[in-house]
Amino acid sequence: MKSWKVAGLTILACAATGAALGGAMVVFGWYDVSATGSHTVVVHEVLDVAQTRSVQRRAAGIQVPYLDEPRKAREGYGLFQKHCVQCHGAPGIAPDPYALGLNPAPAALVATARDRTAADIYWIIQQGIKMTGMPAWQYRLTDADIWNIVAFMRVLPTLSPADYRNWDKGNEQEPGLEAATPVPATRAGDPVAGRAALQQHLCATCHVIPGIAGARHHVGPSLAGIAQRPYIAGGVPNTPASMERWLRDPAAFKPGTAMPDLGLGAQEARDIAAFLYTLPPVD
C-alpha cells in the first residue's frame, strides 16, 4: 500500500516538474523558433509522424478520380509551374531563394509522389499543413485543378530535368487555360463556410475579429459588431449586397483604400458577409 502511494507521488512530482519545465520553455522564450535553428531529430521525427498520420486519417475517405487522361496531367503541368515550383522546385530546378530558407524545408515532390498516395497528396494541396508554409489551395484552385496537379505529379518522377523543361513542347496547352470562368454564388450565405473562408484570406492579419485566433490587429477597423454599423467603407450603407461587393472589390467603392482585393469568389464573399453579420459587438 505504502509503496503504491510512493509510486503515485513520484509520478505526480514528475508530471508537475515536466509541466513546469514546459511552461518555462514557453514563458521565458527558451524554445528556438528561428527557421535557421533546426528541430532536434526526435522532435522532427515526432512532428513528421504526427503529420503523416493526420493526413492519412483525414484523406481516408477521398475517392480518387481517373488520373491518366493526358489532358489532366497537361493542365496540371501549367498549374504546377505557376504555383508549386517556386517553393518545391522540380527536376533540375531549385526552389526560389526565399523558399530555401523555409523550415520545414518544402518537400521535393518527386519523393512525395513516390511516398504518398493520390488521396493524401490531394488532401495536402487542398487543406495545407499548419506551421509548415504549405498553404491551403482550396480557395485558390478548384477541385478539378487540384486533381490535375496530382495527375501531373504522377508523371513527375518519370521525367528527367530535360524532359521536365520541355514537357509542354509535345503537350501544347489549350488556350484559355488560365482564364478561369467566374463562378457565381449559388446559395444563401453560410456563416460556417464564411468563417473558414475568412481565415483563408488572411482577414485576421489586419482586423480584430471576435472568436478568430490571432485576429487582434488594428490595420483595418475592428469587425466586432459590424452588423450594427450603419456604414461600411466610411459611408456606404451597410447591406449584405454592398458588403459582398465591398469584399470583392474594395477599390471600386473607395479608390485608394488600404483594403486589398483578395480574389474572393462570389460565394466566398457572400459566406464571409454572412459570418461577419454574426459577430458580437465586443471582442
Partner: protein
Amino acid sequence: MLLGACGDDRPALTPPGLPEQLAGADSARGRLLLAERGCLACHTVPSLSGPASQVGPALDQVPRRAYLGGWLPNTPDNLVRWLLDPSAINPLTAMPDTGLTPEEARDIAAFLLGRP
C-alpha cells in the same frame, strides 16, 4: 495580453507619432469637446457616457489604428487633418465637418491618442 510583450519596453519600429507632435494641446479640453460637439451622437468613447451609437467606429483604439479614412496613415498631424475636413480625406465618408478650429482639433487628437 501577449507573453512576448511582458516586461518589454522597447519601442515599436514605427511608433504612432512623436511626443513633440501635438505639444501644448490640451487633452482634457479635447475630452470635453467630444461631448460638446456632438461626437458622441455617432461614436462611443470609453470614458464618456453617451448613447452607445454605432454610426461611426468606437474611438477606444485610435492610437493603434493604422489608417484614417481607410488610407491616410494615422499620425497626430494626419488625425488633426482628418478631424478638420474628413471628406477631403475620404470623399465617401459619412463623417461631417464639425467646424472645429485647428486648436480644438489638436486638443481632440491629443485626447484620442491618449496624450496626457
